[in-house]
Amino acid sequence: MISTKRRVFLKGTLAAGTVGVAVGAGLLAPSKLLAAWPSEAFGAEGLANAMEAVTGSSDIADGDVTLSAPEIAENGAVVPVSVESSLDNVTEMAVFVELNNLPLVAHYVLGDGAHANVSGRIRMGESSNVIAAVKSGDTWYKTVQEVKVTVGGCGG
């Protein structure tokens, strides 16, 4: 607990060097720095390209990431997906569907006090592996689960 807070504090101190000046001057809202929609990652075709755009690598290690999704989804338009991790200092989370035309479905940026536990509903065009990835410190970890889709839900 103490080490986690210390880490956040150190990160904040380092970032304050350049960005802090602009924030302090009221030129930038802090949230906006992290909130820019990553168009390159969302437009990336193919799982390897999408993962590389988000994480910097298409080959990230399996780790302590829990992905909850149905084994069989009768309706690909609404597939409930939850991602959770007990790793320390999680700052980003992402969900990919390998065989969707655009694999990156969602990307989450976690600030102070946010827990690594996010749920939503996604579209899947066909049966596919679903990949959940979590960034802990400077390292990304992932887990993979196959979801069989009876009726696809992307409409294109």
């Binding site: 929609w37 990553p38 969602a106 827990h115 536990n117 939503g120 409409g155």
Partner: protein, 94 residues
């Protein structure tokens, strides 16, 4: 447009569930793609989680997250879509 939010605190953690009304049109739909790109979850005015979405998030999106906090805090949910439309709402944590 509307956002329905429930925010309940238990043991210092606020469980937030939000249901946003939005058609989330894919490129093949008339008028598509038209989808929520970004959702911000804030507590007492400070952003806690930013969600970035593709059009492959389901229609009328649901989002559940957990953040540290207390009953009586204010939680706000704000979204912006790719055509610049937006919606926002806030609730008191129970």
């Amino acid at each position: 447009m509307s956002i329905r939010v429930r925010a309940q605190e238990s043991n210092g953690v606020i469980n937030i569930r939000a249901l946003m009304s939005h058609d989330m049109l894919v490129p093949d739909d008339d008028g598509g793609p038209h989808f929520i790109e970004t959702v911000e979850v804030a507590r007492n005015g400070n952003t806690a989680i930013t969600a970035n979405w593709n059009y492959t998030v389901s229609r009328n999106p649901f989002l559940q997250v957990e953040i540290d906090g207390s009953a009586g805090d204010t939680v706000s949910i704000s979204w912006t879509d790719n055509k610049g439309e937006s919606d926002s709402t806030e609730v008191e944590v129970r």
